[in-house]
Structure formats: C-alpha cells, structure tokens
C-alpha cells in the first residue's frame, strides 16, 4: 500500500524491496564483492607480497623441478615420514615443500614443516611474514576482529539480501531484453540507471551463481537442522557425502570430529585416481625400465582397493631402500594427462622398502569433481603402478553443489576461466557501486529543492565515498605497508592489516569533513596515484620490476602490476569525468502537465 492509500503494483513493490534490501547492507556487499573478486587471484597477490619469491624462475621441465626438490629433500630430511612437493605453476613461482615427521599423518592437511625453495637452484627461501591475499579472502566471508560465527552470520544475511535484490531487480527491470546493450552516457540519473542495469544484466548468470553458491557454502550454518537430525556433526556428513561420491561404504557415525578429522578428510579428497576405464595392464616405455604391474598387484586390485595393498605393504618391517627414479613416473603421468599438468607429488615413507609415490594432477577433470584430482600411485622402490581406476559417482544435488561452489571459490580452475570469473566479479562490484550512487543521484534533486541535505542522505553519501573509493585506497595501502614495513619486523602482518583499517577509517572521516564533490575528486586522485606507483614500489623494494617480469614470463607478478596500472587509468578517467560534470542534470519526467504546471507555479 502506498502512502497516498492507492494500491501498489507488483513491480512497484519489488522496486521498493530492491532499493531497500540493497541499500541497508549495500556497503558491506560492496566490500564482500570487491574483496571476493580480488580473492580469485589471492595466490598471485601473496606471491607479489613476498618479493623474496620473485627470484625463483622455474625451469620449463617439470622433471627438472621435481629433481631439484628431491635433491634438496634427500639432503635436508632423508628420514622423514613423508615429503610433499608442490610444483610451480601459473600461480606459483617457487616449489613448496612439506616435510612430515615419522609419526605424523602423511595425508593430513595441516602439520609438517613448510619449506619454500627456488625452483631452479634449490636454494631455500625465507619469505617475509604476511597474510598476503589470504587476508582479503578471509575478510570476504569472515570480516575481521569479530567472532567467526558472528561474522559468517552477518555475511550470510548480506548474501541473502543480495539474492533478494537480484530477484526483485529482475522483476523490476521493465525492458530487460530491449535495453540489453543500452547505456546513455552523460544523462545524469538515466546514465547511472543504465550502468546499474547493464552491469546487472550482462553478468546476471554470474551474479546468480555467486550469490546462490555463497549461500550454499554457508548452508551448514544457516540451515543445520536437516544434517543435524541424521549426522552427529558436519564432518560425518561430509564423509558420508564423499563416500557416496566414490562408491565406498559410508564411515560409521562417530561422536566428535574436530579440526583434525576435517583436515584429514579434506586432504584425502585429493587422493583419488580418476583415470576411469583405462587399461592399466599396458606397459609404458620409460627408459631404464617400465611402469608395469605385476600379476600379484593385479590380483590385489581385484580383491580390494589399492589402499588395502598399500596398507599390507605398510605392515611389512621397514628397511632402507633407494627411491626409484622419478623421471619415468613423471613422463608416464604427463602422458596420461595430456591436457593437464602435474601439480603435487607426495612421497610417503621415502627411502624405505614401503615407500609410495603419489602424483596428482593440477586441475580437476570437471567442476563437478570438487577437490578430486586425477592421481597416480606408484611403488616408491620399484616404480610399479599400484593405483586403481575408479569412476566417481555424482548425484544431481552433489553435482550442483560442487559446480557452483567450485566456481565460487575458483578452485582448481585454469587461468582463462579464473580471469573470466574475475571480470564478472568486477562487473558485479560495479553493479553494487552504481546502485549505491544511484540512490543518491535519484534523491539529489529533492534534497536541493528542500535547501539542505538531510542527515540520512549525507550519511549515505559519506558511506558511499568511504566504501566505493575508500576501500580500494585501503587495499592499496595494505600493499604499500607490505613493502614499506621492514621485512624482519615482528608481527608485521598485523601491522599491515592495521594500516588497511586505519586508512579505510581515514577515508570515512575525510569524506565526512570535505564537501562531497571535493572528497570524491581528491580521493580519486589519491587512489590513482597510489595504484600508479605500485609497479614502481615493487621495483624499488626488491620485487621483480615490470619489464623484467614480462621478459621472464613471470606473469603472476607482471599481471599484478599491470592490473594496478589499469586501475590507476580507471581512477584517472573517473576523476576527469567527475571534474567535467557540472552538477545535477535535470531528468525528463513523465509527469502529468497539470502536475508539472503546479510544480512550476510552486517553484516560481
């Protein structure tokens, strides 16, 4: 019902709902969207924020990379319980090693000693202490400095509001297809509305996917009752879900669970062989020997899983034995995965008669296979293939959950798709920003008419400035703090985060103290300067300079600098656009002539 007592149409009701559901948590949504979008490249950001890692230029051959890592490990920890070797990729310059003690679980997600080495020289690298891109990633769904459960509830409610805003926005939009490509520049409110519509409609599938999957990722917290009625805790549910996917028997319900169990469960998700239907009896040529299977192993596979065989071997008395040559195993894996590359190599009980070598691919075969990457398991002494081939069963609900959440998190996706998700995320961020600005632009004439700005309007204007331009400035200051705070200083990562929040607060206070237009212009200038200087800062503070990173094809560092330059250009463009803008442009109103006359008389 409207204020004047007349009945309201469904579109008008939806318009109201769209406006207010978006505005109330709009600034938070903007922060979630922006930091979430940047999180698609959190590994790249972390690499940039650890300039010590830039020195590593991985050799082309993965075999060479593995050999360098193995030489290091044989020298450093020959008696370890397990070695994990994470090879360099398009998102990582160095080789990341994890050494587990003899009594540690070799497959647990956490634990062990982490070592970073130069991929070509094998030299150990001690990088500075920083949260890197992980801070923005965590902030995106856990905010900062408040109990995790509270933060997740707040983000969950904001996501729900976003979903309401998307649905009501689609209903409100009158000419969704006719105005598909329409953007009328320089027409005040109309332009902002066009920009808001265009950014919303052009990436609508992404917006729906990212919001829906955001809710799915929080569903255990938002709607726990269904799961709680069947399973004692979430871990048990996940284990049962996974067992169903792999066609195994679900584990018996156990009380408790905890982080340890969750870590193990998550890690084991990656240890599946996905090469279904392949004939493993074939022998592979491998130089000195061949990757073949003995009759005994084939029998073993017929009677039980490869893990059973491994378990049997594990029970044998342990004796020292030389590790097999890794080269033929690598060549075999590369031949098996022509469209994939080797991502991780785990060597369990190295240099013993019971050693095993697990070679895992970098990417999953499909977005439906959440965390399940193709894996090959070899005997660590003889080099024989001992892994089994098992198809993965995915039910429709699991498939939907896996597909949308994998896309949301950008897990195991190749670089092209990651960039597309990033671009869609930028479009989504612009959608929220234009929506927030539109709220003010729409109400500006009324505020001008009444001769003063109401408190609510001024508040929204200030919060818009602090969010839309203040947050990018705060993020840039986080990068500056990373490079300017001495590398050896204790608790430096906390200082970096504090800098981020102090600068963000500064932009809010600045926006409150300055006239709106001036605040926008000055903060845009500051943002442009900060982002423009980031490549220079990188080169001056031990990072690899832009020209060098391009020359050496270290794209994760080069693209960071290039994106900063692009953002600087965007801020400069926005600055000049705003500077040229003379003030509120009167919007053509489709009003009744009588009402127009009455308004004109009133104005006169």
């Amino acid at each position: 019902m409207r204020v004047d007592g007349k009945a309201e149409g469904p579109r008008q009701s939806m318009s109201w709902l769209h406006t207010w559901s978006s505005l109330i948590l709009g600034w938070l949504l903007y922060a979630i969207f922006l930091t979430g979008t940047l999180s698609f490249f959190q590994s790249e950001m972390t690499v940039w924020m650890k300039p010590e890692l830039h020195q590593s230029l991985p050799p082309q051959s993965q075999v060479q990379q593995v050999q360098t890592a193995l030489n290091f490990l044989q020298h450093k920890a020959p008696d370890a319980g397990a070695w994990n070797i994470n090879l360099p990729s398009s998102r990582q310059t160095t080789t990341e090693l994890n050494v587990r003690g003899a009594n540690e679980d070799p497959r647990a997600r956490r634990g062990g000693e982490r070592i970073t080495i130069d991929s070509s020289t094998g030299e150990e690298i001690k990088a500075r202490e920083t949260r890197g891109g992980g801070f923005l990633y965590r902030f995106h769904f856990e905010l900062y400095g408040m109990p995790r459960i509270w933060a997740r509830w707040i983000v969950g409610i904001a996501t729900l509001m976003m979903f309401v805003a998307i649905i009501s926005g689609v209903i409100t939009h009158k000419k969704i297809f006719k105005d598909f490509f329409t953007f009328r520049a320089g027409k005040g409110q109309r332009s902002w509305l066009d920009a808001h519509n265009a950014t919303a409609v052009l990436a609508l599938p992404f917006h729906i996917m990212i919001t829906f999957s955001g809710l799915l990722l929080l569903m255990y917290m938002l709607m726990p009752w269904g799961i709680s009625s069947v399973y004692p805790d979430r871990i048990q549910f996940l284990q049962a879900q996974r067992a169903e996917m792999l066609g195994e028997k679900p584990p018996p319900h156990q009380e408790g669970g905890g982080r340890e169990g969750r870590g193990e469960q998550s890690q084991n998700q990656g240890n599946r062989n996905m090469v279904a239907g392949q004939d493993r009896s074939q022998s592979m040529s491998r130089g000195e020997g061949s990757v073949s299977q003995s009759g005994q192993q084939r029998g073993e596979r017929r009677n039980g899983s490869p893990r059973d065989g491994a378990r049997e071997r594990r029970d044998l008395p342990i004796q020292t034995a030389a590790l097999t040559d890794i080269r033929p195993l690598m060549l075999y894996a590369q031949k098996q995965w022509p469209d994939n590359t080797v991502g991780t190599i785990s060597i369990i009980r190295p240099n013993t008669t019971n050693s095993e070598i697990e070679i895992k691919a970098l990417y999953a075969e499909s977005v439906l296979h959440r965390n399940v990457v193709p894996t090959l398991i070899f005997n660590g002494v003889t080099g024989e293939l001992v892994s089994d081939a098992k198809p993965v069963y995915i039910s429709v609900p699991t498939g939907i959950y896996n597909a949308v959440t994998v896309l949301h998190e950008g897990r195991g996706l190749d670089l092209g798709l990651r960039w597309l998700l990033f671009i869609s995320g930028v479009v989504g961020t612009l959608m929220v920003a234009t929506g927030l600005i539109l709220w003010c632009v729409k109400r500006a004439p009324q505020q001008e008419k009444q001769g003063f700005k109401s408190f609510g309007f001024r508040l929204v204007e200030n919060l818009n400035i602090a969010a839309i331009i203040g947050l990018p400035i705060a993020i840039a200051s986080y990068f500056y703090a990373n490079r300017l705070i001495p590398a050896q200083l204790e608790n430096r990562s906390d200082l970096e985060i504090k800098t981020f929040f102090w600068i963000w607060l500064f932009t809010l206070i600045y926006a409150a103290l300055r006239p709106v237009r001036q605040a926008w212009l000055e903060l845009l200038t500051l943002a442009a300067l900060m982002y423009l200087c980031i490549p220079v800062l990188n080169a001056l503070t031990d990072g690899r300079a832009l020209w060098s990173s391009i020359y050496h094809e270290q794209w994760m560092v080069a693209s960071f600098d290039l994106v900063c330059l692009f953002l600087a250009i965007l801020f400069i463009f926005s600055f000049f656009k705003l500077k040229k803008h003379k003030g509120t442009v009167k919007v053509k109103k489709h009003i009744q002539p009588k009402r127009a006359l009455a308004e004109a008389v009133e104005e006169a």
Binding site: K178, F181, T182, L202, V367, A403, L417
Partner: protein, 112 residues
C-alpha cells in the same frame, strides 16, 4: 585457444542480436533495417551463440564449457555495449579490430 574462438563467435553473435533491436540499427548501420533483415540477424545471432556453446561443451566438457561460455558471453556483451555507447560511429572498425586481434591471439596460442 578456446577463449579466442568463443569470444569471436559470441562477439559477432551479439552484434547480430543488437542489429535486431530498432534502437541500435541506426547506430550500427545508420539506417533502420527491414523487418526481414532484422529477423535474419536475430536468427544468426542465436545460431552463433549456440555454436559457441556447443564448441565449449565439446572441447571442455559440459560443466567447464558452460562456465566458460557464460563468462565469455558477459565479456562479449560488454564489448558490444561499450562500442555502441562510445564508438558507434566506428562500430564495425572496432568490432573488426577486436576480432583480428583475437585471431592473432588464437594463431599465437596455436603455434606455441
């Protein structure tokens, strides 16, 4: 490689779809198209976009292919929308230039 193939197909698909809309015909062709030509453009647009989807699914499997396709659709639609708004006088030059750049990218990736 798939990135460039899909981008070129979706870009021209959206050019054809924009040609169906009255308001964009004068921007693109400086005249209004006949009803028959406009409908023809609509059909061509849908065909190109569908071909892109089929190629994506065939080359990348359904789930990743569809994700790629949606992402490329956004990028291509943004390109057409931006060109119509800011470069409508040189519409075909811009779209043609982008297509040539994409083809060069495609060749470079294929030859690597």
């Amino acid at each position: 490689m798939i990135f460039f193939i899909l981008y070129i197909l979706c870009l021209w698909g959206f050019v054809a779809l924009a040609s169906y809309l009255d308001k964009h015909q004068s921007q693109i062709y400086q005249k209004v198209l006949s009803r028959q030509k406009a409908k023809c453009a609509l059909v061509v647009g849908y065909i190109l976009i569908t071909i892109a989807l089929i190629i994506a699914i065939k080359m990348l499997k359904a789930s990743i292919g569809m994700s790629y396709w949606f992402g490329i659709l956004t990028l291509a639609a943004l390109t057409v929308g931006w060109t119509l708004s800011y470069q409508s006088q040189r519409f075909f030059k811009v779209i043609g230039g982008l297509s040539v750049f994409s083809l060069i990218g495609l060749l470079l990736v294929a030859l690597r």
